[in-house]
C-alpha cells in the first residue's frame, strides 16, 4: 500500500509540466480543431471551405514557397556541409561555419527582412552593385516581396539548417568505406552513388522535410517584406482572427490554422522518423 501511494506521489511530480503543456499547448490546439470542424450556419464545413474556396491559392502559394526554398536550401546547404567536412584539416574553419550556421538558422523575423530590403530592394546595395556589372535584376522583374524574392530571403535560414543537419551525418561516413570502395576499383562517382548517398539518404530527406516545415510555419519575414499584403496562409489567418475583430467567418480562420497544424505535423513526424534511421550509422 505504502509503495503504491509513494509511486503515485512520484507521478504527481510530473503534474505541473503535463498541466502546463495541456493548458497552453493542448487546449489551444484542440480549440483550433474544434472551431475548424464547427459548421455553424455555413453550408460546408470550414475544413473543406478552407482548401477548396478562394484560399486554395494561398495553400498552393505557401507550399510552393516552402518546397522551392527547401529544395534549393538543401542543395546548397549540402554542398556547404560537404565542403566543410572535406576541408576538415583547415583549422578553425569547421567551428566557424557550423557556429555561424547556428546563428543564421536562428535568424529570421523582422531584422532579416530589413537586411534583404537593404540589399536586394529597389534601392538596395546589392541591386546597385549588380547593375554596375550590367545585371539589372529589377529590370528582369525581380522584386524582393515576390515569390522568388521571398525564396531568396528564406535561403538565409534554410541553407544553414541543412548544413547543421548534414555535417554530423557526413561525419558518420567512415574513411574506411571510401578506401574499401576504392580498393575494390570503384570510381569516386560510384562511391558517392552506391555507398555514401544511400547512407546519407535518410538525413538528406529528413533535413528536406524539416526545411519545408520551417518555411511553411514562417510568417514574420514575409509579412515585413510585403508590408502585410501577402498571399501566405498565416497572413490569411491573421485577416480573420486578429485582435478582437469578429469577421463572422472566424471558423474559416481556424480551419486554415488546423490545416497548417496537419501539414507541419506530417512533416515533423517524417523528419523525426528519418533522423532516427540516420542515427543508426553513427553508433
Amino acid at each position: 500500500m505504502a509503495g503504491s501511494s509513494k509511486r503515485r506521489a512520484r507521478h504527481l511530480v510530473f503534474l505541473p509540466y503535463v498541466a502546463f503543456l495541456a493548458i497552453f499547448l493542448g487546449w489551444p490546439g484542440l480549440y483550433v480543431f474544434r472551431s475548424a470542424f464547427a459548421k455553424g450556419t455555413a453550408e460546408r464545413s470550414p475544413m473543406i471551405e478552407a482548401v477548396t474556396g478562394q484560399f486554395r491559392g494561398s495553400f498552393i502559394f505557401s507550399l510552393q514557397l516552402s518546397f522551392v526554398s527547401a529544395f534549393i536550401g538543401s542543395l546548397i546547404g549540402a554542398l556547404v556541409a560537404i565542403a566543410v567536412v572535406r576541408l576538415d584539416t583547415v583549422r578553425g574553419l569547421r567551428s566557424t561555419v557550423v557556429g555561424y550556421s547556428a546563428v543564421a538558422a536562428n535568424m529570421g523575423g523582422i531584422p532579416l527582412a530589413f537586411a534583404f530590403l537593404a540589399a536586394f530592394g529597389m534601392q538596395g546595395l546589392a541591386t546597385r552593385l549588380l547593375r554596375e556589372i550590367n545585371i539589372d535584376i529589377i529590370g528582369w522583374g525581380f522584386r524582393i516581396s515576390d515569390f522568388w524574392g521571398i525564396v531568396l530571403v528564406y535561403l538565409y535560414f534554410q541553407i544553414p539548417l541543412m548544413t547543421l543537419v548534414l555535417v554530423p551525418a557526413l561525419d558518420g561516413l567512415r574513411r574506411t568505406w571510401a578506401e574499401a570502395a576504392q580498393s575494390l576499383g570503384a570510381s569516386s562517382l560510384q562511391y558517392w552513388r552506391l555507398v555514401a548517398l544511400p547512407i546519407l539518404a535518410p538525413a538528406l530527406l529528413g533535413g528536406l522535410l524539416l526545411l519545408v516545415a520551417n518555411a511553411f510555419a514562417a510568417y514574420a519575414t514575409a509579412f515585413a517584406l510585403s508590408s502585410g499584403g501577402s498571399r501566405l496562409v498565416p497572413v490569411q489567418i491573421r485577416f480573420f482572427l486578429q485582435g478582437d475583430t469578429i469577421t463572422g467567418k472566424t471558423n474559416l480562420g481556424y480551419a486554415l490554422a488546423a490545416w497548417m497544424v496537419i501539414v507541419t505535423g506530417l512533416l515533423v513526424t517524417g523528419f523525426q522518423l528519418l533522423m532516427r534511421r540516420a542515427e543508426r550509422w553513427r553508433r
Binding site: 565542403a83 535561403l155 481556424y254
Partner: protein, 262 residues
C-alpha cells in the same frame, strides 16, 4: 583531390558572400547618410554616423518596447527552468518510459506553428481567462512553449553528463529534501546547461513576432516593424542591434553547450 578542394573553397566563399552582403547592406543603410543612388567609390567612407541608433535609444516608445521584451525574456527563461529542471531530473531518475514521454512532448511545439498556437490561445482564453490576453505577461507561457524544443534538448544533454543518482542519494541521505536537492545540488551542477537554455529562451523571445503581433503587444520586433514606416534608418539600425544580440546569444549557448559535453 586538388580540384575538389578548390571547389569546396569556392562554395564556401560564395555562400559567405551571400551571408555577409545583406548584413553589410543593412548596416550601410542604417549608418551612412548617403542614398544608394549617389553612392560611389569616392564617398564610400563618408557621412557614417550612429546618430539614428542614438535617436532610437532616446525614444520613449523604444524604451518601453525594449523593457517589455527584456522582462518577457527573463520571465520566460525563469519559468522554463523552474518548470523543466525538476521534471526532467525526476524523469532521469525514473523509468526510461517517462523520459521518452517528456522527450516526445517537448518536440510537440514544432508541430503547432506560432500562428496556429496564438489563434488557438486567443480563442480558448478570450472568454475563460481574458487577463492572459490583456496582460503582456500572457505571452510568457506561449514563449515557454515555443522555446521548449530547444531548452529541453539543452537541459537533457546537461543531465545526461551528470551522475544524477549518486548526487541525489548523497544529498538525500544527508537529510536534504527533494526541493533542496534540486535547488542546491542539481541546479549548481547544471550551471552551464541552465545558462545555455536561458540564452536560447532569450533568443526566441527577442526575435518572436507572430505571437506578439496577433495579441497586439508592443515588443521589440513589433516596434521595429512599426518604425520601418516612419523612420526606416532608425528601424534598420535597431535591426542590426537585434542581429548582433542574437549572434552573441547563440554563440554563447554554443560555447556553454560545448562545455556541457566535455
Amino acid at each position: 583531390m586538388k580540384i575538389s578542394r578548390i571547389g569546396a573553397w569556392l562554395t564556401l566563399v560564395i555562400v559567405a558572400v551571400f551571408y555577409i552582403v545583406p548584413m553589410l547592406a543593412m548596416a550601410r543603410f542604417a549608418f551612412q547618410r548617403i542614398p544608394v543612388i549617389k553612392l560611389s567609390l569616392g564617398n564610400v567612407f563618408q557621412k557614417w554616423t550612429i546618430q539614428p541608433l542614438l535617436d532610437q535609444f532616446g525614444s520613449p516608445d523604444f524604451q518601453r518596447a525594449a523593457t517589455l521584451s527584456i522582462m518577457l525574456a527573463i520571465a520566460t527563461a525563469l519559468v522554463t527552468i523552474v518548470l523543466l529542471l525538476p521534471t526532467m531530473a525526476f524523469a532521469h531518475l525514473g523509468s526510461p518510459r517517462t523520459r521518452r514521454f517528456i522527450e516526445i512532448s517537448a518536440v510537440l511545439p514544432f508541430v503547432v506553428p506560432a500562428i496556429a498556437l496564438v489563434v488557438g490561445f486567443a480563442g480558448a482564453f478570450r472568454d475563460t481567462l481574458p487577463i492572459l490576453i490583456r496582460s503582456s505577461f500572457g505571452l510568457v507561457p506561449l514563449y515557454v512553449i515555443t522555446a521548449l524544443p530547444f531548452t529541453h534538448r539543452t537541459l537533457e544533454s546537461g543531465l545526461a553528463t551528470l551522475d544524477l543518482r549518486t548526487l541525489v542519494n548523497a544529498s538525500r541521505s544527508l537529510g536534504a529534501s527533494w526541493w533542496r536537492t534540486i535547488a542546491f545540488v542539481i541546479a549548481p551542477n547544471m550551471r552551464a546547461s541552465i545558462a545555455t537554455a536561458s540564452f536560447l529562451a532569450f533568443t526566441v523571445v527577442l526575435g518572436e513576432f507572430t505571437i506578439a503581433s496577433l495579441l497586439l503587444k508592443n515588443t521589440l520586433p513589433l516596434y521595429l516593424s512599426y518604425a520601418q514606416g516612419g523612420n526606416p534608418q532608425g528601424a534598420f539600425a535597431l535591426g542590426i542591434v537585434l542581429v548582433v544580440i542574437t549572434t552573441v546569444f547563440v554563440a554563447m549557448s554554443n560555447r556553454f553547450g560545448k562545455k556541457v559535453h566535455t
